[in-house]
């Protein structure tokens, strides 16, 4: 089961500043297990999407180059305080996670 995310969304003028922390191992698939010498299978987030009040505002591709427990910050023009931000991710094993926050 995927561990929960953390989202913080605040208005700065007419721009919403959204900051997302995702809990993920982000295995590159290139690392060898020091004990067995075998490659550790790749396990990383492949797609992150974000929507504000149901409208998609961000669609990002990710791969094994992103660090463990990724942090993603982005700015969206237009929303108002009280609007709902939903963030989803999917990883290469098909695991999914979703979280939502209210813009403050």
């Amino acid at each position: 089961m995927a561990e929960p995310m953390r989202i913080r969304a605040t208005m700065a003028g007419d721009v919403a500043d959204v900051k997302v922390l995702m809990n993920h191992a982000m295995e590159t698939g290139l690392r060898k297990d020091a004990k067995t010498g075998q490659l550790v299978p790749a396990h990383y987030i492949t797609e992150v999407t974000a929507s504000v009040n149901g409208t998609k505002v961000l669609d990002a591709g990710m791969s094994g180059g992103i660090s463990k427990n990724p942090y993603l910050g982005f700015k969206v023009k237009g929303p108002k305080a009280g609007d709902k931000v939903v963030v989803n991710w999917v990883d290469n094993k098909g695991d999914k996670n979703t979280a939502e926050a209210t813009i403050g």
């Binding site: 922390l21 809990n23 191992a25 295995e27 690392r31 660090s67 942090y71 910050g73």
Partner: protein, 271 residues
């Protein structure tokens, strides 16, 4: 002509030697500023996990840790970490946050102490997630965020721990004849680009102690002071120092008292 060339050559050499250090310090400063953004600190993910763990009934006794006494009474977490290490009547010794957590997981939840001690830290070489005790320490410590570092120094055992800790800090030992003081008793020392804290510089030690437990970016996990003690000993090539042992608690007592009056700024984030 020849002399002129030599002087020019020397000037270039001096520049080459000075530049990497100066540039390094600037880029590290920038990096630190980015690390200071709390919203970007994955340590919060660990704190969230620690909270769930703290409130979940677990172990042979099927109990949560909600009645654990960190010195302010059972279940009183707010500000408790700010007054650790301290003497505990039930265990008759000075304990820090991690050794106290160990006591509670044993007495309240019925876990086997030796079993927990086998695996106290996540191993970053295997991209492991935090151990239970690391998550719990991060959560409990965070409940003292914004408070003054104020460990008590009334009980004779607390005074002794502080004193023993300082003596141990100066004690040279191990195959390389290092003491903690070899690296941490003077301003301006560093290992590669990592500036080292001077434990006798109030500002320095407060900045350090107030930001632990901390998220270590290079480890991908939150670390606590017990890990720092263990890691420093590993760097000095001594045998593994025992988790929650009197030696580690004495050292941590000394360090915490040196930082008294600082304000906890948690969770920290370091390289």
């Amino acid at each position: 002509m020849k002399r002129n060339l030599t002087v020019k050559g020397m000037a270039a050499l001096a520049l080459a030697l000075a530049a990497p250090v100066a540039m390094g310090e600037v880029s590290v400063e920038e990096y630190r500023a980015m690390l200071a953004d709390k919203d970007a600190n994955p340590g919060f993910l660990v704190i969230d996990q620690g909270e769930v763990l703290y409130k979940t009934k677990r172990g042979p006794k099927n109990a949560s840790l909600e009645k654990c006494d960190f010195g302010l009474g059972p279940g009183k977490l707010k500000g408790a970490y700010a007054q650790l290490p301290r003497y505990f009547k039930d265990t008759k010794r000075v304990q820090d946050i991690e050794s106290r957590l160990l006591t509670c997981t044993v007495t309240l939840q019925g876990f086997d102490e030796a079993e927990i001690k086998k695996k106290t830290f996540a191993d970053q070489r295997y991209n492991e997630t935090n151990t239970d005790i690391e998550m719990l320490a991060a959560y409990v410590a965070y409940q003292s965020n914004g408070m003054r570092i104020n460990p008590p120094l009334k009980h004779p055992a607390e005074k002794e721990a502080r004193k023993v800790g300082e003596a141990y800090f100066w004690n040279r030992h191990g195959p390389m004849d290092f003491s903690c003081a070899t690296c941490h008793a003077e301003d301006g020392k560093r290992v590669r680009l990592q500036n080292l804290v001077n434990v006798y510089n109030k500002k320095d030690i407060q900045a350090t102690m107030s930001t632990w437990p901390t998220y270590r970016v290079s480890h991908g996990v939150a670390r606590n002071m017990q890990h720092r003690m263990w890691d420093c000993h590993w760097q000095m090539r001594t045998p593994d120092i025992e988790f929650g042992s009197p030696a580690t608690t004495a050292l941590i007592s000394f360090l915490t008292h040196q930082a008294k009056g600082g304000t906890y700024d948690l969770p920290g984030m370091k390289r």
